[in-house]
Symmetry: C2
Subunit: 352 residues, 2 copies
């Protein structure tokens, strides 16, 4: 369907491990002053000149986090980087370097890994980061990508999950639920394709949703936006597992409760219409869909004027005392407990 047909196929074993690493990393020259030594030694050497370093790791596993039937390898490489950068941005840091670990079975030709790396390279270029190391090895089955991202921030700029206070405003960037609905569309087309391999799906109406799933962008801009507004969030987290799950993380870590207003949750019109097409409740998807890679943060009430009119931000609720609990205020003005049905790889897999 959406998968490229691979014209040339070079077996991994023809190159050997070192030949493969040389091939895949040939375009990955280091650019940043903080990268003293990138690829080509036992380890990378970095210099942060008094700033604090931010470190995060994420794994993407074939059959669990992605399906190559509709995920082009280049997009996969790009997305794997975004998933990690999003965590650095959620600390209010600037991402600077990544290492890339890849385990793949011999069913993948060298050209497939080059395609994967081209997505990684594109992400590195657009987000101004250096790829400074990694490990490439074989697996007995499938493809696994493990990326570690490092970033920097001045000590006073780092934002943790722990600083939210009662009455702080709860703010989210972008819109929610689109990545999940993009996945539903891709899954549906995969089933159609199985029945009729000659079908030519018209996915134009779903472009935004599919892009949100296949080629998400991490919110590199938010740190600068907030700085220009002279706002420092009191707490921040990225939305990878769905809005409600992440709100609950902020509440748990900051020891607060929350009131979330259903009518304030930002939804893209195409997401709403596809939810209608699938007969799913759009709020449920926004709350639990996941993979949006937007940022969720809290700010003091005194920053309300600075935030309220900014098109990048939606104020969706406010924090409360911990003993008031975590609630969703529905459009019908009913107060119901907030429930996390986060996208959970472990639970997904338990059905296998």
């Amino acid at each position: 369907m959406l998968e490229d047909s691979q014209q040339s196929r070079t077996k991994l074993s023809e190159l050997g491990e070192f030949g493969l690493i040389d091939l895949l990393t040939k375009n990955l020259d280091s650019k940043l002053p903080s990268t003293i030594k990138g690829i080509g030694d036992d380890a990378a050497v970095l210099n942060f000149e008094g700033k604090q370093a931010i470190l995060t790791t994420d794994l993407l596993v074939e059959g669990v986090h992605f399906d190559l039937a509709y995920m082009p390898l280049k997009h996969l490489g790009y997305k794997a980087v975004m998933v990690n950068l999003s965590d650095v941005y959620a600390m209010n840091g600037v991402a600077t370097q990544i290492t890339v670990g890849i385990a793949c079975s011999n069913r993948f030709p060298v050209e497939a890994l080059e395609e994967l790396y081209s997505g990684i390279e594109l992400a590195a270029k657009l987000y101004n980061i250096d790829v400074v190391g990694g490990d490439t090895t074989s697996s007995t089955k499938g493809l696994l990508i493990s990326i570690t991202a490092i970033g920097v921030a001045d000590k006073e700029d780092v934002v943790y999950r722990t600083g939210a206070k009662p009455n702080d405003l709860l703010v989210v960037t972008g819109d929610l639920g689109a990545a999940y609905m993009g996945l539903q569309i891709l899954e549906r087309e995969k089933e159609v394709f199985k029945v009729n391999p000659n079908s030519q799906p018209d996915l134009d109406a779903y472009t935004y949703l599919i892009e949100r799933q296949l080629k998400p962008e991490a919110r590199r801009d938010v740190s600068g936006l907030l700085k220009s507004l002279e706002v420092k969030p009191t707490s921040m987290i990225d939305i990878s597992d769905g809005l409600s799950s992440e709100i609950m993380h902020l509440c748990k870590n900051s020891k607060t409760g929350v009131n979330l207003f259903e009518d304030k949750i930002p939804l893209d019109p195409s997401m709403i219409s596809v939810c209608e097409e699938f007969e799913i409740d759009s709020t449920t998807i926004a709350l639990s869909g996941g993979e949006d890679y937007e940022l969720l943060f809290t700010v003091s009430q005194t920053d309300f004027e600075k935030i309220k009119a900014n098109p990048n931000f939606s104020i969706i609720g406010h924090m409360t005392e911990e003993n008031e609990g975590m609630h969703l205020i529905t459009r019908g003005n009913t107060k119901i407990p907030l429930i996390a049905k986060g996208w959970n790889a472990m639970e997904n897999d338990a059905e296998d």
Copy 2:
């Protein structure tokens, strides 16, 4: 055979991802002043106070890098940490933090992951490092461990692969080939066990070799030893892929040749006797066995007196001009080209 029988089995799905992370990381309190924030946020926050940071990643894949038939999970966790720390020490750095990524199928109960983590914890304790983050997810098959280690060094202390000069002495720590022969013994016992599950192998004579395979120790001590001798290596690398492969890396990166003397290569007596038992040439194993996690480095000739009598170090050759090539001088005083038959995960797997 050597595998523990698991008494209690809690399904991964019973805990969910966050419950599992809480369980596995409950003992991983951060200890180091450089760890500002460890586990529990989007990313870890580290402070290196003007030192350079050293970053390295390695993957260990079931069926490629280890076999759970004879690798106890606790040892596996320990070894996975050692593999990474060895790379930090090979830069002449002090390892400070790691992140741990684990992908495993549902055939593993929670108790198995706890066992794996107990080995990681033990390594962290003994080597004075903090586990500051990670990712735990499911896989469709098998177990994969991805560790990223970070370390620090003063700028002037970092040792690269690129600094060796003609006439520099080539030095190696410890002894070589034991880890590979330990693996051969474990593989042999596995075959015996398949034929007769009641066999009780007597492995006492092989204790050292098996330990080198199952519970290697990274050379944390070497940096301090060299400092106390007032020796700074001109180049350094860790021996994970076999001596000859690593020597060739040093030569290639430093643009030198080498003369390696067969009779100087340090071998443990038990390694020699097991090579005789298996009718394998011990030099071949020392050159190509791999997984010894010793350090290989070059020093100026002027440091000869400081190094020569130290029981931790063996001078095994010297660097030459690049155009003289890379040679092994045999016990019979014949000069033959050095060949790398490094342990290569890609090549191994190509046979599948």
